[in-house]
C-alpha cells in the first residue's frame, strides 16, 4: 500500500490514477495511522513553498512523514513535495523544510541566465549523475515533464539526475530511502510510469 500524503495541497487525481494503472494500491490520506500502515509514502505538492510547509505542519503530516522516513520506508517527494524535503527554501522569504535532504531551494529567475522563460514548463531530458534504483526501467536522456520556478541547490551529495535549462539543474535527488523528483512522473507518459513502477518495487 502506498500512502499519498494529503495535506490540502494540489491535485492528486493523476498521481493516484497512475499508481492504480501500475496495479499498485494507493490511498490519498491525511490519517497518521493509515500512513503508518503503508509500505511507501509519496509526498506530493504544487503551489508556494511557504503555504505548503505551513499546511504540512498544521496537519501534523510533517511529523508523520519524518517518522516514516526515519523508519526506513521508501519516501518520494514530487515537485514541491521534493523541495519540501530540503532544509530551507528562499521562495518569497525564508522557510524551513523537512531537512531530510541536505540543500536549499532557490528561484530560477535570480540565478539562471536572463531571457529564460520562467517557469520551466515542458519536457526535458534527464541526465543521470548517479546510478539509482529509480532508473531501473528508463535510460539516460529520457524525457520527463517539468513545471517549476524554483529548484534545489547545495545538494551535490544527493543529486541523481539533472536537466539542462540555462545550466544543469537538479532534477532528482536521493539519500538512502528518501528520494525526490522535481518533474512530475505522473505526467511524464511511459517514462514516468516506469519511474513510479521502480519506486513501487523498492
Amino acid at each position: 500500500m502506498i500512502a499519498i500524503v494529503d495535506y490540502g495541497v494540489g491535485n492528486l487525481f493523476s498521481l493516484k490514477s497512475s499508481l492504480h494503472m501500475l496495479g499498485a494500491q494507493a490511498v490519498v490520506t491525511g490519517d497518521e495511522a493509515e500512513i503508518a500502515k503503508a509500505d511507501r509514502i509519496i509526498l506530493p505538492g504544487v503551489g508556494a513553498f511557504g503555504d505548503a510547509a505551513k499546511k504540512l505542519r498544521e496537519t501534523g503530516m510533517d511529523q508523520a512523514v519524518l517518522r516514516e522516513a526515519a523508519a526506513g520506508k521508501p519516501l518520494m517527494g514530487i515537485c514541491l513535495g521534493m523541495q519540501l524535503l530540503f532544509e530551507k527554501s528562499y521562495e518569497y522569504g525564508e522557510h524551513e523544510g523537512l531537512g531530510l535532504i541536505k540543500g536549499n531551494v532557490i528561484g530560477m529567475e535570480e540565478t539562471l541566465p536572463p531571457n529564460l522563460k520562467i517557469p520551466h514548463i515542458g519536457w526535458n531530458a534527464l541526465h543521470f549523475t548517479r546510478e539509482h534504483a529509480l532508473w531501473k526501467y528508463i535510460k539516460n536522456g529520457d524525457f520527463v515533464y517539468f513545471v517549476h520556478s524554483f529548484y534545489g541547490v547545495d545538494c551535490e551529495d544527493s543529486v541523481i539526475a539533472t536537466s539542462k535549462y540555462g545550466k544543469e539543474i537538479t532534477a532528482a535527488v536521493a539519500m538512502d530511502n528518501v528520494m525526490g523528483c522535481q518533474f512530475h512522473p505522473e505526467k511524464s507518459g511511459e517514462v514516468g510510469l516506469k519511474i513510479l513502477k521502480a519506486f513501487c518495487e523498492m
Binding site: 491535485n11 493523476s14 492504480h20 504544487v46 503551489g47 522563460k117 517557469p119 515542458g122 519536457w123 505526467k187
Partner: protein, 252 residues
C-alpha cells in the same frame, strides 16, 4: 534542453469528439479516450480538450470523459470551453485536468485570471486569445471569434500575464482554417512582450509550417493543431521526425 511541444486539440460535444476524424484502426473514431490514447502513444506532448457543449447535460458528459481520459493517459491535459468562474476551474481540475484555458470568460471578467492563478498557481492558467487584424491592429475577438471586443490583443495578453496567466495560446483568426502556415507576424508581436510560454495555433497545413514556425520564431514553445492530425494528413511521429531532422529539439 527543453523541447518544442506538439499539441493536438480535440473538440468535444456531448462527450464525443467532433470534426470528422478519419483514422484507420480506431474502432470508435469519436471516442475521446481512444483518440487521446492514439495521440499519446504517437508522441503528443500534451492534449487540449475543448468543451463545445452548451447544455448542462453536455457539461456533465464532458467531465465524465475527462475523468476517464485522465485516469488512463499520463501526459498534461488542458481543458477549455465554457470556463467562466472559479467553480468551472474546480470542476475540471477535480476530474484530472492540469491546466485550464480561459478565453471569453476572462474577457467578461478579467479578474478570473488573477483569482485562479492565486488559487491554483500560474502554471494552471492558460489564456487563450482569438485575434484578428482590424484597422492595422491585432484585435481580440470573443465568442469563438464572432465578436470584435475592440481590445488590442497585445495589451490584453500583457495584462493577462501580469494577472497570472502562465501560458498563452494565440489563435490567429486570419490564418485559422487556411492551412497556409501559422501567423508568424502576430506570434512575433506577442513573443516580444511576454516571458511565459507561447503556443501557436491556427494555420498549420503540414510539416513545413511547424518547421518554419520554430525556425523563424525560436521563442514560440509549442504548436497546436486539430484537423491536420485528425484527418491523418500528418502523424505526430512523422512531424517530430521531420522537426528533429531540421535541428529542432523535440521529445521522441
Amino acid at each position: 534542453m527543453i523541447t518544442k511541444r506538439i499539441i493536438p486539440c480535440l473538440d468535444v460535444k456531448n462527450g464525443r469528439v467532433v470534426k470528422g476524424v478519419n483514422f484507420l484502426g480506431l474502432s470508435d473514431v469519436s471516442s475521446p479516450l481512444e483518440l487521446a490514447k492514439l495521440y499519446s502513444d504517437s508522441g503528443a506532448d500534451e492534449l487540449v480538450f475543448y468543451d463545445i457543449t452548451a447544455s448542462a447535460e453536455g457539461r456533465a458528459l464532458f467531465t465524465d470523459v475527462l475523468r476517464e481520459v485522465a485516469s488512463r493517459i499520463f501526459i498534461p491535459l488542458t481543458v477549455g470551453g465554457g470556463i467562466n468562474t472559479i467553480e468551472d476551474f474546480d470542476r475540471v481540475l477535480k476530474c484530472g485536468a492540469d491546466k485550464v484555458s480561459v478565453n471569453s470568460g476572462a474577457i467578461r471578467n478579467p479578474d478570473l485570471i488573477g483569482q485562479a492563478a492565486k488559487l491554483y498557481g500560474d502554471q494552471c492558467v492558460v489564456l487563450s486569445v482569438d485575434a484578428k487584424r482590424v484597422d492595422g491592429q491585432f484585435r481580440v475577438f470573443a465568442k469563438g471569434g464572432r465578436e470584435d471586443t475592440g481590445m488590442d490583443a497585445i495589451e490584453w495578453i500583457k495584462r493577462g500575464v501580469d494577472s497570472g496567466a502562465g501560458e498563452i495560446v494565440l489563435n490567429s483568426i486570419d490564418t485559422d482554417g487556411v492551412k497556409q502556415g501559422f501567423d508568424l507576424e502576430m506570434l512575433d508581436a506577442v513573443c516580444q512582450v511576454v516571458n511565459v510560454p507561447v503556443i501557436a495555433s491556427g494555420g498549420a497545413g503540414g510539416v513545413q509550417d511547424f518547421i518554419t514556425l520554430f525556425k523563424t520564431l525560436p521563442k514560440v514553445d509549442a504548436g497546436l493543431a486539430a484537423s491536420i492530425f485528425h484527418f491523418g494528413q500528418v502523424t505526430i511521429e512523422e512531424l517530430k521526425n521531420e522537426l528533429a531532422a531540421n535541428g529542432i529539439h523535440v521529445r521522441r
